[in-house]
C-alpha cells in the first residue's frame, strides 16, 4: 500500500486538528464495535458471583476457565448434558464436506460455463443466478419432503446435501466471474496440445484459482457454519449443528442463568469462522479484487 497525501501537505494547526478529530472518531467507533466482543470474552472468564456483584463492564476479579470447559462438555442441551462438543463435531462433519463439494462443483460449473460455452450456457447461468436469490424459507418444506424421500431426514448427511445444493449458486457465480477473465487461448492451446475437458481443468485452470478458491471457501464456510434455519428445520437431537445446540443451551437452562457459560458457548460456536478469516483473510481481499486489474 502506498500512502497518498491528498491535502497539500501544509502542516498547519487546523490540519493537525482535523487529523486528531478523524483518529478520535475512528477510535470511538472501534471501541463501540469491539465492546460486545469484549463483554463476551470478559463475562466468559468470570464466575457467577463476580457477574452478580460487579458491573457488566468490569474486568474479572478472578480469571476462571470454568465456563469454557462447562460449555464444551458439561452444559445441558435439552436433556443431554454433553456440552457443545458433539454438536461442534456435527457442524464440522457438516461444513467441511459441504464446503468442499460445493466449492469443487462451483469451480467445475464456472469452468464449463466460461470455457466450453455450450448452447444454453447463458440460460443455465441465469437460472443459477436466480437460485441465489431464493430465500431459505421458501425451500424448507419441499426440501424436508425431499430429504424424507431420500431417507436423509434428521441426519448430518442431509444437511451436507442441502448446503451443497444451496451453495452451488454462489460458488458457480464466484468461479464463473473469475474464469471469464482467464484467456480462452489457454484452453485452445491445451486442446491442441491434446488435453481434454478434465485435464485442462486439473492441470491448468485449477492451479490458477487459489485466490478464488479461498474466497469461496470463506464464504461457504461462514454461510454453512452459521446456518441456523436448515439445522433447526431438518435435524433433531444428536444430529443438530452447533448453532442449534447453542440456541438450546441458552434457552433451556433451568435454574440459575449461567451467563458466563452462555458467553463461552457463543464464542466457541463462533470461533471456527473467525479462525478461517484470520488464516485466509489476506487471500480474501486479494481474491475479491482479482481480475479488477490486468495481470
Amino acid at each position: 500500500m502506498t500512502e497518498l497525501s491528498i491535502h497539500g501537505g501544509a502542516n498547519t494547526a487546523s490540519a493537525r486538528l482535523g487529523r486528531l478529530a478523524i483518529y478520535g472518531a475512528l477510535a470511538i467507533f472501534a471501541a463501540f464495535y469491539l465492546m460486545p466482543l469484549a463483554v463476551m470474552v470478559m463475562t466468559s472468564l468470570k464466575d457467577l458471583d463476580d457477574i452478580r456483584t460487579n458491573s457488566l463492564l468490569a474486568l474479572p476479579e478472578r480469571l476462571t476457565t470454568f465456563a469454557w470447559s462447562h460449555a464444551w462438555n458439561e452444559a445441558c442441551i435439552g436433556t443431554e448434558c454433553t456440552g457443545l462438543a458433539p454438536y461442534f463435531v456435527n457442524s464440522l462433519v457438516m461444513a467441511i464436506p459441504a464446503v468442499a463439494i460445493s466449492t469443487f462443483l462451483g469451480a467445475l460449473n464456472g469452468y464449463a460455463l466460461t470455457k466450453w460455452r455450450f448452447r444454453g450456457a447463458n440460460l443455465i447461468f441465469g437460472l443459477l443466478l436466480f437460485g441465489s436469490f431464493i430465500p431459505f424459507q421458501v425451500v424448507i418444506l419441499p426440501m424436508a419432503q425431499t430429504l424424507g424421500f431420500m431417507g436423509l431426514s434428521s441426519s448430518v448427511a442431509g444437511l451436507v446435501l442441502v448446503h451443497t445444493a444451496y451453495g452451488i449458486n454462489f460458488t458457480t457465480l464466484f468461479f464463473r466471474n473469475y474464469y471469464v477473465s482467464l484467456p480462452d487461448d489457454l484452453v485452445r492451446a491445451a486442446t491442441i496440445d491434446g488435453a481434454g475437458f478434465f485435464t485442462v481443468f486439473w492441470r491448468i485452470v485449477l492451479p490458477l484459482s487459489p485466490s478464488i478458491i479461498v474466497v469461496t471457501v470463506i464464504w461457504q464456510f461462514t454461510q454453512i457454519w452459521n446456518d441456523f434455519l436448515f439445522g433447526a428445520s431438518f435435524t433433531s437431537g444428536g444430529s443438530q449443528p452447533v448453532t442449534v445446540a447453542l440456541n438450546n443451551l441458552v434457552n433451556t437452562t433451568t435454574g440459575v442463568k449461567m451467563y458466563n457459560v452462555d458467553m463461552a458457548a457463543a464464542l466457541i460456536a463462533a470461533a471456527p469462522t473467525l479462525l478461517v478469516y484470520v488464516v485466509a483473510g489476506r487471500y480474501f481481499i486479494r481474491g475479491l479484487t482479482a481480475g479488477a486489474v490486468k495481470g
Binding site: 484467456p183 487461448d185 489457454l186 485452445r188 492451446a189 491445451a190 486442446t191 491442441i192 496440445d193 491434446g194 488435453a195 485435464t199 492441470r203 491448468i204 492451479p207 490458477l208
Partner: protein, 377 residues
C-alpha cells in the same frame, strides 16, 4: 504428384445469417510458408482456427497431408499453433510448457527431456527452462510459444499474429528468426497477419483476404508487381500503388493512357504509351481506365535513370507536398485529378510549388477496370 501438406476446398463459415468465409480454396505444398493477409474482420483468423479445428466448418473440406480432417479433433490433426497472446500456461515452468503436448501424448520422460533440450537449444532458451512465464520478457515468451509448437514436430504450423504484441525492434528480429527457422526446418507454415511487410518478408505465397474471400493468392513479388485488383494493389506496398484515372487511347499501333497533369489539369494532358498491353485492353480503347503505377516506378528524372529504364516516360508536374524520409523523398503530385506519390531521390527532390520532372516506368504499369476494380488482362 506428392500429397499437398494442406488442402482447403471451398470452405465456408457462417454465423447465423452472416458469412465470415464465403468459399475459400487453396492448396499448399510441403515446406511452403503461406501468409493469410488482410485487415481485421476479413476472416483470416477464422480460417486459421478452422484449420486448427478450434472452429467448426460450415461447408467445404480441409485436408492435412491428404487426410480430410473436418471431423478430426484438434489434437489429432498433426498441427501446432502459436497464439497471438502466446497462451503459455502460467502455472507451469517453461520446460513443462514445452513438454505439455508430449506429455498428453504419453511420450516417455527420457524422450521428452531430449526433445526439450533440442528445441530449447534451437531457440536459445535453454537457460530459461526452469522459469515461469511471468518471469519472461515478451520476446522470450514468444520463443517459448514457438518451442511448444516446434517440439511436437507437426505437419503444419499455424501462427496467429505471433509478433503483434512485440515492440517494433523485437518484431523485426523475431521476423528474421522465424524466417531462418523456416529455412532450416523446411516446415509448412500458415501464418496470419495484418502487417503487409511481415507478409512480404516471410511468405513464399500470400493470400490477400477481404470480407471472407481470397482476393489474390500469389508470391510476394507477383502480388507486388501484378496485383489482381485495386484492393490488393492498395493493400500491399507502402506507400500503396497510385491509381490514376485515365483514358485508354490508341497511339499508333500501341495503346497509351491519357490523363490530366497538375491541380485542375493546369499542366495540360499527357499521353504515356503502354508496353506489352494485354489483348483484353483493346476493348477499353476510348474508355476510362485506372492506370496503376507503384510509387517506385514513378521516380525522379535523371539521364542515368532514364537510361536504366528504357520504357521510362517523362512527366513534368507541380509538387503538392514533399515528405523527406532520409534516403528518398515522397513527392505528392496531382495526376488525373487525384494524388499520386513518387519516390524521388532525396538529394534531387524538388520543392513544393515547383515543377518536378518525373520518370514513369511504363513497364510496371497496370490497368484496372474503374467499375469492377479488377486488373485488365
Amino acid at each position: 504428384m506428392a500429397a499437398s501438406a494442406l488442402d482447403i476446398r471451398d470452405v465456408r463459415k457462417d454465423f447465423g445469417a452472416t458469412s465470415v468465409l464465403k468459399g475459400v480454396s487453396l492448396s499448399l505444398a510441403p515446406g511452403e510458408f503461406l501468409v493469410l493477409l488482410g485487415p481485421s474482420g476479413c476472416g483470416k483468423s477464422t480460417l486459421l482456427n478452422m484449420i486448427a479445428g478450434l472452429d467448426p466448418i460450415t461447408a467445404g473440406e480441409i485436408a492435412i497431408d491428404g487426410r480430410v480432417v473436418n471431423q478430426v479433433h484438434p489434437k489429432d490433426r498433426d498441427i501446432a499453433m502459436v497464439f497471438q497472446s502466446y497462451a503459455l500456461y502460467p502455472n507451469m515452468s517453461v520446460a513443462k510448457n514445452i513438454a505439455f503436448g508430449l506429455e498428453m501424448r504419453h511420450i516417455d520422460r527420457a524422450e521428452r527431456e531430449r526433445r526439450i533440450a533440442d528445441v530449447s537449444a534451437l531457440l536459445q532458451i535453454d537457460h530459461l527452462l526452469k522459469r515461469k512465464p511471468s518471469q519472461l520478457s515478451g520476446g522470450q515468451r514468444q520463443r517459448v510459444a514457438m518451442g511448444r509448437a516446434l517440439v511436437r514436430d507437426p505437419k503444419v504450423f499455424l501462427f496467429d499474429e505471433p509478433l503483434s504484441n512485440l515492440d517494433a525492434k523485437l518484431r523485426v528480429d523475431m521476423r528474421t528468426e522465424i524466417k531462418k527457422l523456416h529455412r532450416r526446418l523446411g516446415t509448412t507454415i500458415v501464418y496470419v497477419t495484418h502487417d503487409q511487410i511481415e507478409a512480404m518478408t516471410l511468405a513464399t505465397r500470400i493470400a490477400v483476404m477481404r470480407a471472407g474471400v481470397i482476393e489474390q493468392l500469389a508470391t510476394p513479388q507477383q502480388l507486388y508487381d501484378e496485383p489482381a485488383n485495386m484492393y490488393v494493389g492498395g493493400f500491399v506496398g507502402s506507400p500503396p500503388m497510385n491509381f490514376i484515372p485515365a483514358t485508354l487511347v490508341e497511339n499508333g499501333s500501341a495503346l497509351a493512357v491519357r490523363f490530366a497533369v497538375g491541380p485542375q489539369g493546369a499542366g495540360g494532358e499527357v499521353t504515356l504509351p503502354l508496353v506489352d498491353t494485354p489483348a483484353a485492353a483493346r476493348g477499353y480503347v476510348g474508355k476510362p481506365v485506372v492506370f496503376g503505377l507503384r510509387p517506385d516506378a514513378l521516380t525522379d528524372f535523371s539521364d542515368a535513370e532514364a537510361m536504366l529504364r528504357p520504357h521510362g516516360q517523362r512527366l513534368d508536374v507541380e509538387v503538392d507536398v514533399l515528405e523527406p524520409t532520409g534516403a528518398e523523398a515522397l513527392t505528392y503530385v496531382t495526376l488525373g485529378g487525384t494524388t499520386a506519390i513518387a519516390r524521388v531521390n532525396a538529394r534531387r527532390a524538388v520543392d513544393v510549388g515547383e515543377t518536378a520532372s518525373l520518370l514513369a516506368d511504363m513497364s510496371h504499369a497496370r490497368l484496372f477496370d474503374p467499375d469492377s476494380e479488377q486488373a485488365i488482362g
